[in-house]
Structure formats: C-alpha cells, structure tokens
C-alpha cells in the first residue's frame, strides 16, 4: 500500500471535457513559501485561468485542497479549501469546509484535485486511490444531496466513501448554491456549487486507503497530541462543544449585535429560540459531531417533528443560518428555521445568502418595490415562514420569475427590481454579508471590506478585537503592543489587527486547521503551527516564516482580483452598513462610514505595500515577498 511523505505533494488533474486524468508533483519551494492547501490553490488558480474567464464557463477550474497537515492527528486540521473564480462576484473565491473528504483525498494520494472543463453530460468523479473514473450521473441529476449520497454509496457498494455533492440549486447555477461535503458539511459561499453544476459535475466521491508519514514522527505526534488537549480545555472550545456556534446568540443579543429584519434591527423578540442553548434545552439536539481530527465538535445534529413545517433529521444549523434564515427574515420559530436549514442543505443552497436574499425580498415587498403580482401568490412580509420555505424551493429550481430572479443574488436582483432596493441589498462585490454587524466592530468592518470574496467573516475574523478573554487580549497585545486596543469600537490599530489576522487565517487554512482554533479559541497559534509544519517537512520553520507564508497567500489572492480589474473602490461594505447607523441598543448611533473606511484602507494598504490609489500590490512588495515570479502579468499599479 501507498505510504506517502507529507512533504511530497501531488496534484490530480481531471479534465472533464476530454476525460483526461494526470498527476504532477508540487515543488518543495512552492510548498514552503505558500504552505500548501489554500496557498497553493491560489497559485494554481492564478496560473491556470486567464483574466476575464467566465466563472460558469468550461475554462474555470475547481480546486479541492485539503490542508498540508490534514490526515494527521493535529487537532481540527481536517479542513479543505475549495477554490475557483466565483460566479457571484466574478472574483477570487475560496470556501473552506470540514467533514472527512479532505483527509480521504490525502489518503488516496492527492493533495490537490484540480477539475477543469465541462463534461458533455452529467457525471460524477470517483477517486478510488490510484483509480480515477468519470462515471455517468444522469440518474442523479435533479436529486437532492441526501438521496444522491445514498445512491452513490449504494452504487459503489461502500458506505465509508466521502462525497462532495451539489443539489438542484448547483445544477441550476443558483449564484449562492453550495456543495454538501461528507453529507453534513457545507462548502457554502459565493456560488461554488454553480461552478460544479456548470461543469455537469454532480459529485466527487473519494476512497483513500493509503498512509501519510511525517518527517519527524515522534515530535510531531507528541506536539499535536498536546495541542489537542490544550484546545479541548480552552473555554471557547468548551462553549462550542456544548452549544455550537449558535451558543453565541444570547451574548450577541446582549451586545446589541443581532442581525434582524434584513439588518434594519439589532434585536428580535424571542431570539433565544434561535440559540444553541434552546436546541439543547428543548431536546432538538441529538448529537455533537466532529470534523476530521477535531477536538471541538461544534457541529450539531438535530431532529424535530412538526406537523406544520415537516420533520427534520439533519445537521446544523449554525449561528449564521439561525441569523439569516431566522432573525433576518423576522422568524424565531425554531422548527420552521430547522426546516429551512434542512431544505437548503438538501437543495444545496448557502444558508447565509439564501436568508439574506429572502430577507431582501421581504423588505422589498413591505416597501411595495416587489408587488403582490411579482410575488406570484406569496405573502412575502417579514415573519412568514411558509413563504420563506416555498421561496427556498423556487430559488433552487429557478421556478417562476421570482425564483429565477432571486437565484441571481441581491446585487443582480436589486438592479433588476430597481428603485432604492439596492440600498437594502446587504451585499458588496456581489456577495451577501454574513450576519455580523460591522457598524460596531471596526476591525470586522475593514476585514469585510477588503475580503477578496466579499463581506463575510470566513476569510478572516478579528474576534480578538473584542478582548473577551485573556488569550484574546494577549493576541491584541502581541499585534499592537498594548492590550488597550482590544476594543472593537476604537479606530486606532484596526489595520494592524486585520492584517495580522489575515496572515494567521490564511496560514491556518493552508495547513488545514479550523480557524476557530486559531482566531476564536487560541490554543492553535502561529508558533505551534510553525513547529508542526517544520516537523512534518523535516525543516526548521519559524513563526515569522509561517506568517509570511500567510501574507503571500493574501497578496496572491489580491493579485488575482487586481488582474480581474478590482480596485480600491471595490473594497466596500453594503450601503446600509455604511449609511444607516445602528438603530438602538448599546451601539445605538454607531456607523462605519466612507470616511472611516477610507482611513482604515489608507493604513491597511500602507502596511501591505499596496498602491494607495488602486489597492494593487506594488512590484517591490511582490519582490520582497518572493512572489514576483508568480504574479508576472499584474497590471501596472
């Protein structure tokens, strides 16, 4: 059987148009400077598709990259990046997903799966160690993600294979369709499911029977085991285990930072019914699940029986789902939201955008911008769960004019509907903002604005700026020299905080760690990540080198967008978040307006060595980062 050194990285290339399959090796220099995973995927994307590529055309590539340390006992290190040019934004898109698929791909012998071309008819990809097969999938087309998972496992006669599957939403190229991975984990944002759908690729199925070897086994194993114990003991981890991500809802309510009624309110009655505590107390929670090698187990498994909304036996929902499909749509009926989450999972929709597209439509309806005729029989006002559930289905199947319109996301839908509706389309760059109030958290505001895939917390998260724990304050002290900057409403040092977190986040994901472990809990940190990376490859590797690797990744992603024409004016937040102050609660009156954002951007670009007028990385910056050979065709700054 195949025993592979972690440092000997391999790419599996699959061209769906020709059926050609090939493998190639990754140079050690690239692995060390870009750390693998998300980092190398950014390089491949930059190199393999030219500027202007149609995200839904056959030329786009879809890159699956588990982390460099995925498949080992490093705690919470089993995550996978899926990278492509995104259809919602027309820019760089990376989504990160848990589950067990990434580790399985590593055991099969591959660190990267690069899928290009478009199959002439629906297919799925079957990677069974060395044997790679493109199999017909006409019989799976149109089916939900769960049934497809069952059918593939039955057909291959193996219920332990790992899958990544799109639902009808991805087939129909909904611009916020997702990929369901290992059945219960969602690679969500930016329409990554539509890219798979555009390739006629219904699913990826993987079986790996190989083994992974690290260069310094004993030190690696012992350090990883120690990190695992430290992480499990972290207070943040404990809360995530007990209550899941939605355990934060009572705290956010207290802070006046809930996102409700399409971001027009920061409170909603009965918000506790959306909380992780409520799921436990009321008996909806039936299980706590880990992703591969995780020592937190924040993932939920829930069951509910409802005559009104239908039964649920599914994973989730996460905090963001509770906010977007719940509070944002004016809903706190737990069973309705569980059902909405289940439908999104089965149809293959990103719950964050699905919720925000529907809450936008609800506001349009209440303001008379979408007429009852345009609503096609749906009473679309806030709080109508029945209309929401029906809309989820219509969007996934692009049914009717409204379903088809909303399937395009709020940027395009508001352009179509007209009036002032763009002002309450909570999007920037074409991506709906996740349910984080950037008016009262300034590092978050900057991080969201410069996020290459659009405004959300999943490319970098600056949770430490709240200074909730001693560990968080220590991180801020480390970055700024003084823990007084652990205050989310201060304007000073926000650029420093964002840049450090971006570097750390990118390195975290390149290695395969879950960002919760390094930027929400802090037991995984640049120092021990660097040490593990060194043990894995058999090299000396410092914290500074690791963070520099993260910086290279962030810069490369920036270069991709610059080549597509993105400029300073695209580093923007949704109109409402920059023009309507927080309406009530402890943060009443707060706003991150254009002047404030401009100040942040000036500081942030200067720190990076990016051109202040355009936001494009300067040539000297690329040379200093040893990236000049990668970003060869960058437009002049």
């Amino acid at each position: 059987m195949n025993i592979r050194d972690i440092a000997a990285q391999r790419i599996l290339n699959v061209d769906l148009a020709t059926g050609q399959v090939s493998t190639e090796e990754v140079s050690r220099r690239d692995l060390v400077r870009l750390l693998g995973g998300r980092g190398l995927a950014a390089k491949f994307l930059y190199e393999r598709i030219p500027a202007g590529t149609d995200p839904l055309g056959p030329e786009n590539v879809l890159i699956w990259s588990p982390g460099t340390l995925s498949g080992t006992n490093a705690p919470s290190s089993g995550r996978t990046s899926v990278t492509c040019k995104g259809p919602a934004t027309g820019l760089y898109l990376k989504v990160s997903v848990g589950g067990h698929l990434g580790a399985e791909l590593k055991y099969a012998g591959y660190d990267y799966l690069v899928i290009s071309g478009r199959a002439p008819h629906p297919v799925y990809l079957w990677v069974d160690d060395d044997r790679v097969e493109i199999r017909p999938a006409q019989h799976l087309w149109g089916k939900g993600t769960r049934e497809t998972d069952d059918l593939i496992k039955a057909e291959l006669d193996d219920d332990e294979i790992q899958t990544g599957i799109i639902g009808p939403a991805g087939e129909n190229k909904v611009l916020f369709s997702c990929i369901m991975v290992s059945r219960y984990n969602s690679a969500s944002r930016g329409g990554v499911g539509a890219v798979m759908g555009s390739k006629n690729l219904k699913a990826v199925a993987v079986r790996g029977r190989g083994a992974l070897r690290v260069a310094r086994p004993k030190p690696y194993f012992d350090l990883a085991a120690r990190m695992r114990r430290e992480l499990a003991a972290d207070a943040g981890s404990e809360s995530l285990y007990n209550w899941g991500t939605s355990g934060s809802i009572p705290g956010l309510d207290e802070m006046g930072m809930l996102a409700a009624y399409n971001f027009s309110q920061v409170t909603i009655d009965n918000s506790e019914r959306l909380s992780g505590q409520y799921l436990v107390d009321e008996g909806y929670l039936t299980g706590r699940e880990s992703c591969f090698a995780c020592s937190t187990a924040c993932h939920r498994y829930v069951k509910s029986h409802s005559d009104r909304w239908g039964d649920v036996d599914d994973s989730g929902p996460e905090l963001e789902t509770m906010m977007s499909l719940g509070a944002e749509c004016g809903l706190t009926d737990t069973e309705a939201v569980l059902r909405a989450n289940h439908l999104c999972n089965d149809y293959g929709l990103d719950t964050i955008s699905a919720g925000h597209v529907i809450s936008w439509a609800m506001e349009c309806y209440e303001r008379g911008v979408i007429s009852p005729e345009q609503a096609e029989g749906l009473e679309l006002g806030f709080g109508n769960a029945e209309a929401q559930l029906e809309l989820i289905r219509r969007i996934a199947f692009r049914e009717g004019l409204l379903g088809d319109l909303l399937a395009e996301g709020t940027q395009r839908a508001s352009a179509e509907v007209g009036g002032d509706s763009w002002k309450w389309a909570i999007q920037a760059k074409g991506l709906e903002q996740s349910a984080v109030d950037t008016r009262a958290a300034k590092s978050y505001a900057l991080a969201f604005a410069v996020n290459p895939r659009g405004p959300d917390h999943l490319m970098t998260e600056t949770y430490a700026e709240f200074g909730f724990t001693e560990e968080a304050r220590e991180v801020i002290r480390k970055i700024t020299g003084d823990e007084k900057y652990a205050n989310a409403t201060l304007l000073e040092k926000r650029a420093d905080i964002v840049r450090w977190h971006e570097d750390c986040y990118a390195a975290t994901e390149a290695l395969g760690f879950c960002v919760f472990t390094s930027t929400a809990a802090f037991a995984v940190n640049p120092e021990n990540m660097a040490e593990l990376f060194g043990h894995a490859l058999g090299i000396e590797f410092s914290e500074e080198e690791l963070m520099l690797g993260g910086r290279r990744i962030v810069t490369l992603e920036r270069c991709f967008n610059a080549r597509e024409g993105a400029r300073r004016e695209d580093d923007m937040l949704p109109w409402r978040m920059m023009n309507e102050p927080v309406p009530d609660g402890p943060n009443k009156g707060m706003i991150t307006d254009q002047a404030m954002l401009d100040r942040f951007l000036d500081e942030y670009y200067a720190l990076h060595g990016w051109d202040p007028a355009t936001g494009i990385p300067q040539v000297e910056t690329l040379k200093a980062l040893d990236l000049a050979d990668v970003c060869r065709v960058l437009p002049e700054a």
């Binding site: 006992n73 083994a211 706590r288 498994y301």
Partner: protein, 154 residues
C-alpha cells in the same frame, strides 16, 4: 479483568483514536491500518474494536496458532510472524474488529497496546474507557439503582 469499553453516545467521530492507533502501531497516519474504527451512522457514531471474546472464534479458526490469548495483559493477540494470511480470523470475527493490513499482508487486531491503550488516552470526548470490568459494572449497577430511586421518589 481490565477492558476497553465504548460509550458510543459520546463519540463525535473525530477519529483521533484511528490516527493514534495507526501511528503507534505502524508509525503512519492511516485509518485503514487502525485497530479501532469509527462507524458513522447518521448523527450517531460507534467505535468498533476487538472485545476480547472469552471463546474467541479468531483463535479457534487460526490454523497456525498465530492468534492466541496473551494471559499477561490479558488480550487476544496475533503473532504477525506466524500469520500466513489465510484471513480466517477476519471472517470469523462477529464484530468486524479484525482486519487486513494491505501493507504488511497480515491480519491486524487490537492488543490493547500491551495494557495501556493509546486510543483511550487520545479520546477527549470520553467515548473510550479502559477500566477494570468490576468498576464498570459497579458504576452501571449504581446508576441503575439511582434511576429506579429517582423514578420511585418522583
């Protein structure tokens, strides 16, 4: 007798036990070469591992005596040097707890690491215990009694 017991309701399927087992036994990370395996059902996960049967079918069917009872631990063990690869033990195991190692061409089964199972130490969720059977039984007996008492009092 001290034995490995499984609390499946606490298992989150992180699979640290599989990784630890394959590392300790083979020096690599490979769930396929782990003596303990996690079966993921929908929302429920079950660690499956050798239970050390008193009348062990694997010992009975082994033609060379490679599978034997090590009374010092005690545990059912396989002497890999004497394994001829007939796979009879794998077929005989009613639990799916004996498996085949493709790399070494021998059958593999849990040997409790000679009395200090590494998987138990790796499990942070409390899904694996290694305790004297008498302790486990006494604890369960007490829990049963307390449940009855609570019902009666309530």
């Amino acid at each position: 007798m001290t034995s490995l017991s499984v609390n499946a309701d606490k298992c989150t399927a992180c699979r640290a036990c599989e990784l630890t087992c394959s590392f300790v036994k083979e020096g690599v990370f490979a769930p396929y070469r782990s003596r303990i395996r996690i079966v993921r059902l929908h929302g429920f996960n079950v660690p499956v591992v050798c239970v050390n049967c008193a009348q062990a079918p694997c010992i009975e069917v082994c033609p060379t005596g490679a599978v034997y009872r090590d009374r010092a631990v005690p545990v059912v063990r396989i002497n890999e040097a004497e394994c001829i690869g007939c796979r009879e033990c794998i077929k005989a195991c009613p639990f799916g707890a004996a498996d085949w190692d493709d790399d070494k061409d021998v059958a593999i089964m849990c040997d409790l690491c000679g009395g200090e199972p590494a998987c138990v130490a790796s499990c942070i969720y409390g899904a694996l215990d290694f305790e004297p059977e008498a302790t486990v039984v006494r604890r369960k007996r007490r829990a049963t009694a307390e449940a009855i008492a609570a019902r009666t009092a309530g």
